[in-house]
Amino acid sequence: MRKNPFDFGLLFLLPGLIGFVIFFIWPFTISLGYSFMDKPIDSVFVGFKNYMDLFKNESYLMSLRNTLIFMGICVPLNIVLSLLAAVMINKVSRYKEIFVLIFLIPLVIPSGSMIFFWKALFATDGYLNYILSLLSISEVNWLESEITRYVIVFIFIWKNLGYNIVLFVAGINNIPKLYYEAATVDGAGAVKSFFDITLSNLIPTFVLVTIMSIINSFKVFKEIYLLTGSYPHESIYMLQHFMNNMFYSLNYPKLTTATSILVLIITILSQALLKYERRKSV
């Protein structure tokens, strides 16, 4: 390792690095700067005023709360369900590849291709309410009520379960079979081996799955937006809606401040998770 950064490695890196700085690092810095100004042109430095204002803004707080609640539900749910599915796939004697393939399919299907189906299923005059009416249950407003959050959780699980299954299946396969044999010799049952060996050896996978689930939980905004538009029911008014709407009203101080807070949260969260993983996996 050298103190001087100039060698052929830098030469190969340079084209990508220049683009990375121009399209990400530089504008992030500008955006951070805007968050301390009153307006983008003829700006005056206002310190943390934008941040204070944002934390008093009703729709920002609502969108932040909804985003956190949504993550709080779907990240753990996705982890538990995909772990169960991965353990089952790992146990079956055949068709492993086919099952993994089936769970991966929703991941590659473009959101737009499925929107009409979801609407036909969840609309007030849709198929689900048709089934409810056959059972003489009164209809549910799936897309515009408190329930909508869970409809989106369902779509999230449908789309992202396969991603986590692949990671868990790989993680389980990496655990040496020897551990299980040793445990059996010691008289441990299937349940005890699952908790003592499978779960404890999967900790690095858990960290990774958590990070990816958080990232993917932001991506479900595509479905929310395509299904319910810019101003959905308030139970699924997300951070992304707030930012999009600030964007259209050209409210730069709010927008850049919201961006900076989001960047800060993600940085702290990912660093904490990575540190945790490094400590555990050594």
Binding site: L17, I22, E97, I109, P110, Y127, F247, S270
Partner: protein
């Protein structure tokens, strides 16, 4: 015997779960072969005069898995009679293809650069890549818009394509893949007097074909399914990619929506079928280690 029953039970559970997962897809595919009259009967809940006469007070959408009559008329409409769908798909290609090619190339060079760079602080630089990689799209959109505005490209696809090309995920993924190439290969080639470029071309690239395929697939899927950037940067309807347009299909167009959806999902679906192993490898490699 007990093990066998256990096996059958698990397979049954997984099969049931698979059926639930495949149902939306299956409906979309089978319904794309329905005649438009059938689609309109099934997917509209407006009451006709006959319904009223028959005393029906409310109608629901009725999803039917199997068409009453099989016909390819929807596909004829989408692919031949209404060229607008193909034009919109070309829009999707215009965004996706440059991003895939550009990102794979840039990422390959950058990943190789990170591998052979010998600067003390290179891991700190790499950490910045990882942090940006973890940012949700919405956090990146504002910075993208600022740059696009300054470069005067905010009304063109370039505003979407350029950040896509330099997006850090590919660099990360390919660097992970490169770590799997044994270090002796580098040393042996150095001994033979090969320069760094030759090593990349003759030794590294052939070793990581599946990593490159995995990256190309993941980037393709992401940009084929583009929504957020389009909402911000594309203002004309005729410039939209199919992903956004399909969600806008109104009541007048429902008779062909399933065929249009199928045409749109065909490419990523095809890539999954031929490259399942590569995609799985790509997902596994996205592990941060």
């Amino acid at each position: 015997m007990r093990a066998k029953i256990f096996d059958i039970v698990i397979i049954s559970i997984l099969t049931l779960l698979s059926a639930i997962f495949l149902f939306p897809l299956l409906v979309t595919v089978t319904n794309s072969f329905m005649p438009s009259s059938e689609i309109i009967t099934n997917y509209t809940s407006k009451l006709s005069i006959f319904d009223v006469l028959n005393g029906i007070a409310k109608k629901f959408i009725n999803i039917k898995l199997l068409p009453g009559t099989l016909t390819a008329s929807q596909y004829k409409e989408v692919l031949i009679d209404q060229p607008s769908y193909l034009l919109l798909m070309i829009n999707s290609l215009k965004i996706t293809v440059p991003v895939v090619i550009g990102n794979v190339l840039v990422s390959l060079l950058s990943a190789y650069g990170f591998t052979i760079w010998r600067w003390k602080y290179k891991e700190a630089v790499f950490l910045v890549y990882i942090i940006v990689m973890l940012m949700p799209l919405q956090a990146v959109l504002v910075p993208n818009y600022i740059v696009a505005d300054m470069l005067g490209i905010k009304d063109s696809y370039l505003a979407i394509i350029l950040p896509g090309i330099f997006s850090p995920f590919g660099t990360f993924l390919l660097r992970q893949t490169m770590k799997a190439v044994p270090y002796e290969y580098f040393e042996a080639a150095k001994m033979d007097g090969d320069n760094d470029f030759k090593i990349l071309l003759n030794i590294i690239i052939p070793q990581m074909k599946s990593g490159l395929a995995a990256l190309a697939m993941l980037v393709f899927i992401e940009y084929w399914n583009i929504v957020e950037q389009v909402v911000i940067f594309v203002k004309d309807y005729y410039k939209e990619p199919l992903s956004v347009f399909l969600s806008r299909i109104s009541q007048d167009n429902i008779s062909i929506v399933f065929a249009a959806s199928c045409v749109y999902m065909f490419l990523p679906f095809y890539f999954l079928m031929i490259g399942q192993k590569n995609l799985e490898k790509g997902i596994e490699l996205s592990g941060i280690k």
